[in-house]
């Protein structure tokens, strides 16, 4: 039966509903504001600290704006020439590991997506992902001895490139599996019928469709490898140095040179930020998993 409320009552009801929604919206905005402050403040403090003098960073009363600007900090961090090569080392390791993770992860992911039974099924794929759940520190020492017995030892690019696969490969495999699953198998079949051989069909049809996803995976792998500290600290140090183990070396006697540490950190932030900006377009599409639509 139709509601018997008259028009006036209906209008008040509508007005009340609108009022309630407006209140909710304001509350949400206030919450957003706090959240933004909470996340952005550390970045801000890092940036201004990079421009402070060493003395100013050690004041008991912290300053939120440099009393005096010291852009020389950014030159100071490279006083030691090996510091620059640390950035290069980090870059080599992160990039090498990313490429390897993508290659192996794509192959494995494809197998899990297309031949789940032969590849060991969902459980196998999940087991791989679960490798990311144990505390890394648990394998720190065993891994050190393991790599120490390899021809290239621990203190080399290749050791870290391979070691980081422990963390990045399961992630890459799992995500690539999801992306490949999103590409209908029929597209590849259509390509076979067009006359493309399987590998060519993969390159021509499947790869372009998972590319956005692949780039997101690359970003995630690269950033992990770029920022890794725990293993790098133990494994490398003389022949090879990553930037993460260089940062704690900015000290003067017992005094921590916060300004230099922050300046170097700021420089180390540049590559991932640039990468992110360049690849952002693909990343957003990849992360939303909407690889094939329409």
């Amino acid at each position: 039966m139709a509601a018997t409320a008259d028009i006036a009552q209906a209008n008040t009801q509508a007005a009340q509903t609108a009022e309630r929604w407006r209140a909710v919206r304001y509350l949400f905005l206030i919450f957003l504001g706090f959240w933004l402050l909470f996340t952005l403040f550390p970045l801000y403090f890092m940036a201004i600290t990079a421009f402070k003098s060493a003395a100013e960073t050690n004041l008991t009363q912290p300053t939120f704006w440099p009393q005096e600007w010291f852009p020389e900090n950014f030159v100071g961090v490279f006083a030691e020439p090996t510091n620059f090569s640390a950035l290069v080392d980090s870059f080599i390791i992160a990039t090498g590991n990313t490429l390897l993770s993508l290659l192996l992860g794509s192959l494995a992911g494809y197998a899990f997506a297309r031949f789940p039974r032969q590849a060991g099924g969902e459980n196998m794929a999940f087991w791989m992902l679960s490798n990311r759940m144990f505390p890394p520190v648990a394998i720190l020492v065993p891994m050190f001895f393991l790599f120490d017995n390899t021809p290239w030892g621990t203190d080399s690019h290749i050791s870290l490139i391979i070691l980081y696969l422990v963390f990045n490969l399961p992630l890459a495999t799992w995500l690539m599996m999801v992306f490949f699953r999103d590409v209908p198998h029929e597209l590849e079949e259509a390509a076979y019928l067009d006359g493309w051989k399987p590998l060519r069909a993969f390159v021509k049809v499947t790869l372009p469709l998972v590319l956005p996803g692949m780039i997101s995976v690359a970003m995630l792998c690269w950033i992990f490898a770029w920022n890794e500290y725990l293993f790098a600290n133990l494994f490398v140090g003389s022949d090879v140095r990553t930037y993460t183990i260089v940062i704690p070396t900015f000290t003067h006697g017992s005094q921590t040179l916060w300004n230099l540490q922050m300046a170097f950190s700021l420089i180390a932030m540049i590559p991932p930020v640039v990468l992110f900006i360049v690849l952002r377009r693909y990343m957003v599409r990849g992360l939303s998993l909407g690889v094939v639509k329409g």
Partner: protein, 371 residues
């Protein structure tokens, strides 16, 4: 029960240069207990209209009333409408009975009453035997009936069905048509049926509202849409196979007016009423429409005034209960519906006959019906 009135309703999505006028100046009244179909091709505005009636979409301008009460700005839950969707949207882990009673549980109806009503609805939809089963075990047709039942059980004032049959295959669809027809006969509830399939609309609805390009083209019963379509669009959209159209110019001959088809030897005789109407416009170009059903191979159905066409068969499609001939004469191509016994083959030249009063004339510019 309720009478639904849409008064001058407009829906515009977006603003400025990117604004899309989805529904334009729609005036439509659906009477209490009436079964009305909203029919049109995809993108014609029928879904927007439906969503405004339900309250899922805001109205840009105009009023929607149920039994005179203005519901334009009410929330969907306050409108007492129920809707069944194209996808069945059943809860797979609930039994059919639980699926049916779910809307009542939300309303706080006591369990005993819920059971009673579920059984009543199930009886009506012939799903009583499967009440204890779960959706995955049911056929597509049964699932669709459960989904209808879930909408019905709330005893809504207005019952809306959105393309409910598009996922069913032909045989099930056919069955479902009769089920729905029975259902409406038993319930006498106001029903609005949205579809792009003219066969469904014509079969089910008391009246059909044909929409195209955001505008209402014509509202009427089957006979009106079939025999007096408001314009060429309606004539084309209603009927299967679609109406044959020819561009033609009037020709005076022995004191009577005929229509000479462009690039073809076809010439149509007109009824005296049509001759007068064409003369009155004084136009030079017209669109002639004739339904494939109104062309016959039978020369003497007791009518001396029958018109005759000569054409060559391009395709003879045997369809079991009937055959469709695709015919050619010059550049003109048209179809005729003939009995399945017709043996004439490709490139045979045959005579076809028609009743001049069935010939429709449209304005070549506006495509509106002249006669």
């Amino acid at each position: 029960m309720a009478r639904v009135t849409l008064a001058d309703v407009n829906k515009i999505y977006g603003t400025g240069t990117r604004a899309v006028h989805a529904v334009q100046d729609l005036d439509l009244t659906i009477n209490d207990g009436e079964f009305v179909a909203l029919l049109g091709p995809s993108g014609c505005g029928k879904t927007s209209t439906l969503r405004m009636i339900v309250g899922l979409e805001s109205v840009t301008s105009g009023r929607i009333r149920f039994d005179g009460q203005d519901v334009t700005h009410l929330e969907p839950q306050q409108r007492n409408v129920a809707m069944a969707f194209e996808t069945y949207a059943l809860y797979p882990n609930f039994t059919i009975e639980e699926n049916l009673t779910f809307p009542l549980e939300v309303q706080g109806v006591p369990p005993k009453e819920r059971r009673r009503r579920a059984h009543q609805v199930a009886e009506m939809l012939r799903i009583t035997p499967v009440l204890k089963e779960k959706p995955p075990g049911l056929s597509g047709g049964q699932q669709q009936r459960v989904s209808l039942g879930r909408a019905l059980i709330r005893e809504p004032a207005v019952f809306i069905l959105d393309e409910v049959m598009s996922h069913l295959d032909a045989h099930l669809k056919f069955q479902m048509l009769f089920d729905l027809k029975r259902l409406h006969r038993d319930l006498k509830r106001t029903m609005i049926y949205v579809t792009h399939d003219q066969v469904e609309a014509l079969a089910l609805a008391d009246r059909i509202a044909v929409m195209s390009n955001a505008k209402l083209q014509q509202v009427g019963g089957r006979a009106a849409l079939y025999n007096r379509p408001a314009n060429a669009f309606v004539a084309d959209f209603i009927g299967e196979p679609p109406t044959n159209f020819f561009t033609a110019r009037p020709l005076q001959e022995n004191g009577s007016l005929t229509m000479q088809v462009d690039n073809s030897t076809l010439r149509f005789q007109l009824s005296s009423e049509a001759q007068a109407a064409v003369n009155a416009t004084g136009g030079e170009r017209f669109i002639v429409g004739l339904r494939p059903q109104n062309l016959t191979l039978d020369p003497n159905r007791g009518d001396p005034n029958r018109g005759r066409l000569k054409a060559a068969i391009a395709i003879n499609e045997y369809l079991g209960e009937r055959s469709i001939l695709t015919l050619e004469s010059g550049k003109a191509r048209f179809r005729a519906l003939v009995p399945p016994e017709t043996a004439a083959g490709q490139r045979d030249i045959i005579d076809l006959f028609y009743d001049p009063t069935r010939v429709m004339i449209f304005d070549a510019e506006t495509e509106d019906l002249i006669v």
